[in-house]
Symmetry: C2
Subunit: 530 residues, 2 copies
């Protein structure tokens, strides 16, 4: 009889890692259940039908016997079942969001219920990557008004854990795009030393050579639970941790994973992403660093100002006070790029601020100064000076040691003790002249080819910045790698993407590899770092 069918399978839990949730059943069971390969199905224990999850169905005659269903341990945890538990699978109904996303694909305006449904179904997994891409691309094409952006922000905020602190929480955030931007490692201890609470969560690098979390990880543990995070913040007033393990605004992570595939980052999504996460992290007051210039996310001042206005308005709507700082973003902040090299430079700046690069100290103190003014700690216009005093007094360094210790690191580590990659390549100026161009993009690609951020000791030191006069044979760049093969990779990138242009220098000669082309360097490959 067709109507009578075995509709409960037996769990067979396997270790299984894949981007998407999958389950595997036998072809014949699938036929009986009227399911096809690739179907989205609800998976649950019939006794716990409130704990449903969505997965994509894979069929196999060999991997799984009849009556059994292979689940990953992650799914098993999610629906609270163990080996041999009874499992039901049923065709998941088409997500409601499909119709709402279609509306946006035609340029419609979505109300709060529709946006919330889209975000909720993304987190449930009923809405897949293709649907998410359609939504984000439509945002890019048609834009979103402030109402929609607010709904999106709130839906993202509500998609995961929510942290609250027992006093006002300050934060600094950068929209990113500039390599070597280790300012958070100065700002957090400056602000915490002033007595304000600054519990900073940050991300790991996605396309850059080092995220703030990657850099801080050289000095301390950044993989903290919510409880540990709150303990550190309450004890020291500061924290610098990776936000990824806290399950804050998981919808945002899901969207970012899809956006990345096509390098997409529409303004409405960027706003909702930043502010949704900050809401969930319990932030009340923040400064937003908006780097401007070629090869950054904001190519013109006008775009940056427009973005700043929107983020401030959005902040007003959701209860976060925001000030935006528009900063120069066409070359790296400081000289060092890569986790260990950036941690080293930040630590040096905390210890000997007078010897630190002006770009690093000034940017850090400007942004920290805005926070001090917003809090009332500093009178208007005096924040920058107060931040600098805290830094120069050594209080910021003392505070950083406390934070490092509270996060399980060695507070007494010296900058020169931080291990760097043992494979090194030095680049010299081929001619006399002025540095007319420094390419963020080329520097990023070289540092990543050298192994950053995965290889903590990989990266580079940029010895010159734009406008600097150089003499032929001056050292202008050093590349570090932990593995010789990676150093070779980095050198290959260097040869196709000149990161530094000196006026008068030949960019390329034909035939290639003639004298005076940019690839004509001295090499000290294999020498240990200074």
């Amino acid at each position: 009889m067709k109507e009578e069918k075995r509709d409960v399978l037996t769990a067979s839990i396997k270790d299984l890692t894949i981007d998407e949730a999958i389950v595997i059943i036998n072809h014949e069971d699938a036929e009986e259940l009227e399911l096809k390969a690739g179907d989205k199905v609800f998976v649950y224990d019939p006794a716990k039908s409130n704990l449903k999850t969505t997965a994509t169905l894979i069929l196999s005659r060999d991997l799984v016997e009849r009556g059994r269903i292979i689940l990953s341990s992650r799914i098993a945890r999610k629906i609270d079942v163990s080996e041999a538990s009874p499992i039901k699978i049923t065709q998941a109904p088409p997500p409601k969001s499909i119709d709402y996303i279609k509306e946006k694909m035609k340029g419609g305006k979505l109300d709060q219920m529709k946006i919330k449904t889209i975000i909720d179904e993304m987190v449930e997994g009923t809405v897949g990557k293709v649907e998410i891409m359609s939504f984000v691309l439509s945002e890019q094409f048609y834009g979103m008004d402030m109402d929609e952006i607010e709904y999106l922000t709130r839906a993202i905020y509500e998609s995961g854990e929510i942290i609250e602190f027992n006093k006002p929480a300050y934060d600094k955030h950068s929209i990113g795009g500039v390599p070597g931007n280790k300012v958070s490692l100065l700002i957090v201890p400056i602000i915490a030393a002033s007595g304000l609470l600054i519990p900073k969560t940050s991300s790991r690098a996605i396309t850059s050579p080092s995220g703030t979390a990657d850099t801080m990880e050289v000095l301390a543990d950044v993989n903290l639970s919510v409880e540990e995070f709150k303990k550190v913040a309450e004890k020291t007033n500061g924290a610098l941790i990776w936000g990824g393990a806290l399950n804050l605004a998981p919808a945002d992570d899901i969207i970012i994973r899809v956006e990345r595939i096509m390098g997409l980052d529409p303004v409405p999504q960027m706003l909702a992403s930043i502010m949704g996460k900050k809401m969930a992290a319990g932030i009340n007051t923040m400064v937003l660093d908006i780097p401007v210039g070629k090869e950054t996310k904001m190519e013109s001042i006008d775009k940056a100002i427009d973005f700043a206005r929107k983020v401030i308005e959005l902040g007003n709507r959701i209860g976060i006070r925001v000030q935006a700082g528009i900063t120069y973003g066409e070359q790296p902040v400081g000289h060092n790029i890569g986790p260990a090299l950036e941690a080293k430079e930040a630590l040096e700046a905390l210890i000997k601020p007078k010897e630190a690069p002006a770009s690093l100290v000034e940017k850090s103190c400007s942004l920290a100064g805005l926070l001090l003014e917003m809090s009332g700690k500093a009178p208007l216009g005096m924040g920058h000076q107060m931040a600098k005093e805290i830094l120069y007094s050594g209080k910021a360094y003392e505070k950083m040691k406390e934070i490092i210790e509270a996060q399980g690191g060695n507070p007494n580590i010296k900058p020169e003790e931080i291990p760097l990659g043992e494979y090194k390549y030095e680049v010299y100026a081929p001619v006399d002249g002025f540095v007319t161009q420094v390419s963020n993009r080329a520097l990023k690609e070289i540092a990543r080819a050298a192994g950053a951020p995965k290889d903590k000791g990989a990266g580079l030191i940029l010895h010159v910045k734009r406008g600097r006069k150089v003499t032929a044979r001056d050292k202008i760049l050093e590349i570090y790698a932990e593995r010789s093969v990676r150093l070779q990779d980095a050198i290959s990138v260097l040869e196709t993407m000149p990161p530094i242009v000196i006026e008068g220098m030949l960019l390329r000669t034909i035939p290639e590899r003639q004298i005076y082309t940019f690839s004509h360097y001295e090499s000290s490959q294999g020498s240990s770092s200074e």
Copy 2:
């Protein structure tokens, strides 16, 4: 030593069905190979490195031991390996198309090389669904000019097998959207009987209750290989088969699978899809049926005319002569919907054309007439009459019997011998009046809920068309199903989506389920079909 690693695995071939190509290896091997779950990898036998395929990587500690790699038998066939063959997997480089798709996402115009690369990488599997959706949605947003459409058509055409016939091949194609459109089952035998070659490949239903291939399958085998197809066509001058098994323009199928997710079908893609497939199928001359009206793909005559002009221009560019016929599409063609019911109605029309519905006979003869005129068989303006003569003479029916026989069916089957679903539900007019509305969409949904196209005997008979006068208690609709549960499903849909509106009829009363609402029918559920 990090640099030395096991880089050849051993094949373990399993039966495995999933929408996407996947391979499974052990976590530890992945770590050594520096690969992550979800990575796109090239999979190949090192001795046959020209036969690479792309797959998504899944990791498991339990399902696969170290040194082994689980491949589906489909992948194994594709790269020509057998159990225990050595297999290399390497990170697939980012597809070149990403940059080209990004250009289109910004509204750029793509040249032939770029469009060809995008299509080729889709077929190779290096470009995934998200990228394909980004491409198609950008086509929708920005449109494409005729050059781009031509490049797209040629790239789709070149993506698979190419069929050639030894004499000019004619075809009829409909852009779809109208249920009950069984005209191909009349047109093919009419044209073949005239002495022209009409080797028709068609699709199965995607969102409709029956595709031409589903309908023809009631009468004969439609699952033919290229050789069998050519043999049938050469023998009978006609054929009505499913195109899906021929590997014609596989890029088109890949794109359609993605478009379907969001119900997207932008005009440039539609043009390239139709014409790329026709090129690959060896067609030289065709008529294109463009149904117009509410709930069809072309909502206005203007859109239909614009589409017709484009398809003709595209035909000129690629060497296919096209005439477009714009037809009325707001209600079904004929009365029957669903594979068996449509096959029955078509066969009845071939046997007794005088008793057949005018909408079916006239539409079939009009479109067939255009082909007869294009071929020179009929003088201009005389094609329709010639088609009708062929139909009325019985020659079309004789030809259809030949085709059915050549495709392995029973040529002598009587319409009344075609099995219909044994569960039936009848709907009667609740009031006297004129039929003011017939909803294609509602009819489709009801027929699909009843089980069509999977259950061949499921579907419906529409006893009235728009404008018809009815008297209360006239039978207006019959629903057929093979399973009682499906009949119930169809009745549920019927109650929420009225397929027929009679002037004076209450569409809904409040509170619901009062007398004279549309759901107030007589039921003859369970009675066998006539």
